[in-house]
């Protein structure tokens, strides 16, 4: 028996789930989500949980500002943990401060009220910090954090209520198109028909798109993170030490989650490296000397799926009728998922996204070499 749906979403991560959610909200609920493992099992459940709009391009700032509004609204409606605790970017030289003074003007221009703050103000917000070597910071008051686990489970329940079908442990092997039109997908448990397909499968999207001769120039770059035992609230904002490309955030239950950029080659399997925890511990204890006595509980790895210009690829693919893509989030998939899902739903139902800047994010820009280039990527 062949099952037919109007739309198949490949990938049960946060982007695929939010896409289904906004489509179903518009009355488009004849959707089948296919996930090769369990929901959230790729990058979603490995992410740093941060949500911000303090980026360096109009596209990112405008869309993530709207994404924050959606996080706020949906966390209330669906009942999952989200907190607008802010971000503080920490700087150790005048050059960094100068660069972010300019970025802050750009944030303000598009309605994101970041501002440069003094070391004293950093201490006010994070009393336990060691300020040695710090020259100032950038405070982003509208940034925040959410629980990826609760978000995925809440969305799963909401989608089931709306009649969206979800199949886990189902791996899509190839996409089927005839005469330039989507027909369905072939999986390890049979063929599923559909008029439309959304590929939201992280780096896996590249292999899938290849099966219908669409080239997605993505790089899968391993990143590393660890979490400590839990403590009562020590500070609210997510902290970024720009010098080390490192971050520390106290997550929902009180654990400190942290990561930093260490040199990695793309397309490598996820290995645990002996040098990560020592490097991370050095940065963490520099910022918080008392963390010397804090226990490390878990160290894990995950991928940033990098596009050539560090912006996602979202929208229709012109060569294949009925094919849509949402991938290449370059480390920002979780925070961007609500707006990405909304934009996908607008492309599919309305034929065009509400936000003009979202039109710049389709695959066409990459084919035409019109790169947008984001500078504020870390971790």
């Amino acid at each position: 028996m062949i099952m037919k749906s109007e739309l198949i979403i490949i990938g049960g991560g946060i982007v695929g789930l939010y896409s289904a959610y906004f489509l179903a909200e518009k009355g488009f609920n004849d959707i089948l989500i296919l996930e090769k493992s369990y929901l959230g099992s790729g990058s979603t459940f490995r992410c740093a949980t941060g949500i911000r709009a303090s980026f360096t391009t109009e596209e990112h700032i405008v869309l993530l500002k709207e994404s924050i509004n959606l996080w706020k609204k949906l966390s209330r409606e669906l009942g999952f943990y989200y907190e607008q605790g802010g971000y503080i970017w920490l700087f150790r030289n005048e050059e960094q401060l100068k660069a972010f003074t300019e970025f802050s003007k750009l944030h303000n221009k598009f309605g994101v009220p970041t501002r440069i703050i003094s070391v004293d103000e950093i201490v006010e917000k994070v009393p336990m910090i060691n300020t040695e070597g710090l020259v100032g910071g950038l405070f982003d008051p509208i940034a925040g954090k959410a629980s990826p686990f609760q978000a995925v489970f809440s969305l799963e329940n909401a989608l089931k209520d709306k009649g969206v079908k979800i199949r886990t442990l189902t791996r899509v092997k190839k996409i089927i198109a005839e005469n330039g039109r989507i027909k369905g997908v072939e999986t390890d448990s049979g063929t599923f028909e559909a008029d439309k397909v959304l590929i939201a499968a992280g780096y896996g999207s590249r292999e899938l798109a290849k099966t219908i001769n669409v080239d997605l120039p993505l790089n899968n770059v391993p990143h590393h993170a660890l979490v400590t035992e839990k403590f009562k609230e020590a500070f609210k904002p997510l902290l970024i030490d720009w010098t080390y490309s490192a971050y520390i955030v106290q997550v929902q239950h009180g654990n400190f989650l942290m990561g930093m950029d260490i040199e990695e080659k793309p397309q490598q399997p996820l290995y645990q490296r002996v040098d990560f925890i020592p490097k991370m511990a050095r940065v963490a204890t520099r910022l918080f000397p008392w963390m010397r006595n804090v226990n490390v509980l878990r160290y894990w790895t995950g991928y940033y799926v990098m596009s050539p210009d560090r912006h996602p690829i979202i929208g229709p693919v012109e060569e294949v009728d009925g094919l849509y893509i949402a991938t290449g989030f370059s480390g920002h998939g979780f925070m961007m998922a609500p707006i990405a899902g909304e934009v996908v739903s607008e492309w599919i139902v309305d034929g065009k996204p509400k936000y003009r800047v979202a039109e710049n994010l389709t695959l066409r820009r990459i084919k035409e070499g019109k790169f947008i280039h984001e500078k504020a990527v870390f971790g």
Partner: protein, 99 residues
């Protein structure tokens, strides 16, 4: 679940204070794999890293699903094996907070 059980709950996960009743309820709600149960209930996410609770939850889940424990997918173990203070990872001379 009987009244006696409510008064003296059976703790399955000591780190996160999860009871047998919590686990059975979550399974009934549809969290029927260990990865989802872990993230729903936080079993295995505390200092014991699942060494205490996971074997118990595997047995509870296998019994409820009428499967053999071998058929269940076991969550990935993450290093370190047991909690380790950050200072252990610092190089010599860094422990006393000098650069």
């Amino acid at each position: 679940m009987g009244k006696e059980m409510k008064k003296h709950p059976i703790i399955v996960c000591r780190c996160e204070n999860v009871t047998l009743e919590d686990v059975e309820k979550a399974i009934d709600e549809g969290y029927t794999d260990l990865e989802s149960l872990k993230r729903k209930l936080r079993i295995g996410m505390g200092p014991c890293q699942g060494r205490t609770c996971l074997p118990l939850v595997i047995r509870i889940l296998a019994r409820k699903l009428r499967k053999s424990p071998d058929e269940l997918l076991i969550p990935t173990s993450r290093p370190p094996i047991s909690p380790v203070p950050m200072k252990v990872f610092l190089a010599e001379g860094e422990d006393d907070n000098e650069e």
